[in-house]
Symmetry: none
């Protein structure tokens, strides 16, 4: 509310905000007002880490600060990135919010199920991607994510305002905290929870390595088909939920395969 | 989103909206924009019955219509009242949303608990009161309610925008509805169920191919380590739950990688 004491909010933001909460990542947001109201929604729910990828109107943005209604600590601490891969580089777990169904094969979670997964794996540094107001995330953005979050809304009118989408995810994260608010059980791979997950920069370097080696070998039938083939390949490997050990193994395997076999005569 | 087809939304609003959903009652709202964004949030969650008590800037309000982003059926159907008692006159159950604790002795519910109560008593005509932006509901307004709803937010920053408060209550009502919308997660297996899984013989030929190529390249440090390395690799790839299409893609990728890159001089 406009009457909130901004200094008080700033001073208390870190005290009441969660250090283990997910990072909220706004991808190519258009309106400063929406960045501000998203920041307010985050702080309402105790989240303070915002990242912004290529905002249309530049950064800092005075409209964002005004619309934040006192959530200055979120706006002031927001980090700016040029691309989604840079914004997620050191994260362990990335969700993509989408309104529309995607043809990509990825786990699809409700906000509640996603929040419960985050609460069960507090050591994993997580991020949630939100797309631009008009178009949402594109397929390339989504391909980097481990899973998709779909908010179960009225199918005839499902398009949420950006800050509203941020609020629902933040609110579910907050209410998943105490046992009283949540009620469900769900299945995720419990067995892998002890194994350190690879972070996104490790996975992205692995992708870059394969994609580069394939390009050298004229793997892609045409330049036009390359993005789709790369996306499919990334989606397929992300389904493994790669651990650090997996990524090291895969690096080893692929490096070995790209070597020429020794000539039998050498032995 | 701005791209929503307004006529379509209007035509489909009643079809997808709930006749047993609660009435959303905005008490002395100040800004038309907030009335509009509240309407959008309602329709997102399948609610269409809005009542407005003594709006500061009169009614109808063109800013409300513009901010509704297509939720015209909600704005167009909103009913106007002079006072809270008139607005709730024929309702069976009334909740009051508040940010601050009240000295009044009334049951205090979370949004989730309130939504579950509403779903359990579909025959009861219910309404939820939301106060003005700056001050919230006054004690007289609250005294009319059967119970208070408090949204569990960051105590250092708990003041929600009006439309955000409407969204949380509407969203909880919606997700309390059917099994599909609530906390159950759709797992990968659901989303991939239409895609034929690779059968074991296809997967095994793929493994044999990789393992053979790796052996040719002296990948295994020793014969003793080979079985364990092969097992780990197989386990890792099986976690993908490979489809036929995946196996074909992987064959293509690995075949390409084992080729020598063309000599740059050849081109």
């Amino acid at each position: 509310m406009a009457g909130t004491d901004r200094r008080k909010a700033k001073a208390q933001a870190s005290e009441f905000a969660a250090t283990d909460g997910p990072v909220i990542i706004l991808v190519r947001p258009q309106l400063g007002e929406n960045i501000g109201t998203a920041a307010r929604a985050m702080l309402n729910c105790g989240l303070i880490d915002m990242r912004i990828v290529a905002p249309r109107d530049g950064w800092p943005n005075v409209k964002a600060l005004n619309a934040a209604s006192g959530a200055d600590a979120v706006i002031g601490g927001a980090k700016l990135y040029d691309s989604v891969p840079e914004a997620v580089a050191e994260l362990d777990l990335v969700y993509a919010t989408t309104a529309r169904g995607r043809e990509m094969i990825k786990p699809v979670l409700t906000p509640r199920a996603a929040a419960e997964t985050l609460r069960r794996t507090p050591a994993a540094k997580a991020g949630i991607l939100f797309g631009p107001e008009r178009s949402g995330l594109n397929n390339e953005d989504v391909s980097i994510a481990d899973a998709i979050i779909e908010v179960p809304l009225n199918p005839a009118f499902s398009s949420l305002n950006l800050a509203q989408a941020v609020l629902i995810l933040s609110y579910e994260w907050r209410t998943a905290g105490g046992g009283e608010a949540s009620s469900s059980n769900l299945s995720t791979s419990e067995s892998t929870s002890d194994i350190p997950a690879a972070n996104k920069s490790e996975i992205i370097s692995f992708f870059n390595m394969i994609e580069g080696e394939l390009e050298k070998r004229d793997f892609y039938p045409s330049a036009a088909m390359q993005p789709k083939m790369v996306r499919n390949m990334r989606n397929m490997f992300q389904r493994i939920q790669l651990s650090q050990q997996d990524v090291q193994s895969l690096f080893g395997i692929f490096k070995a395969l790209t070597r020429r076999p020794p000539d039998p005569g050498d032995k």
